[in-house]
Amino acid sequence: MIEITEEELSMEELIKRARSKDAGAMVTFLGSVRDDGIERLEVEAFREAALAELESIQREATSRFALKAVEIVHRTGTLAVGESIVAIVCSAGHREEAFSGCRYIIEELKKRAPLWKKELGERGEHWVGQDEPAGK
């Protein structure tokens, strides 16, 4: 299942969904707001395009690494330091595939999913990944 949501995410719930008797290995990735001198993070999505891109990434990973289950949740909205941003759960027959699948999904998500992050803190505001301020 793929979700883009303002709600908190539950790893327990995702892990439960990805369990199956033929999956000997499960690898999860959880990304959180890091205390880098920022106070909070605002996450913005082009929701429909991001869901479509995440579905493509899920399909690619599932066929390439023979995954048994994939769960992806990305949060949007205002997130405090320590809060979860993104969770990925991959299950597979063996650990090699589960690790590779999970890694593939987070790397492709970062490259391809239309999602943006704005860091807010004492030093002001900053859209992550954009070096030149646009019109400021």
């Binding site: 996450v43 943006w116 992550v128 990944g129 954009q130 030149e132 646009a134 019109g135």
Partner: protein, 89 residues
């Protein structure tokens, strides 16, 4: 329909309808926005009038090449999305 995200949303607003003459291209639409909003002109174009590197575009949710595809004509009902680079690392 024009959708703008992140820094471009802050300048243009999240979405707006734009009426174009028949045969208008992606570049025509961007120039129309630039004419209406000086902040967008400054953000999106350099001094020579070339689109800046960090302006990314989608037509109907498919990425287009910001150099080669600027001459693409827009149809009635097309959705153009304008956004900066993705969050990355």
């Amino acid at each position: 329909m024009v959708l703008a995200f992140a820094s471009f949303r802050e300048i243009l607003g999240k979405e707006r309808e734009i009426c174009l003459v028949e045969g208008a291209t992606v570049r025509d639409l961007l120039e129309e926005l630039a004419a209406a909003r000086p902040a967008f002109n400054e953000a999106a174009f350099d001094d020579t009038g070339a689109l800046r590197d960090y302006v990314l575009l989608m037509v109907n949710r498919k990425r287009i090449d910001p150099i080669l595809d600027l001459s693409r004509p827009l149809q009635d009902g097309d959705e153009l999305a304008i956004f900066p680079p993705l969050a990355g690392g």
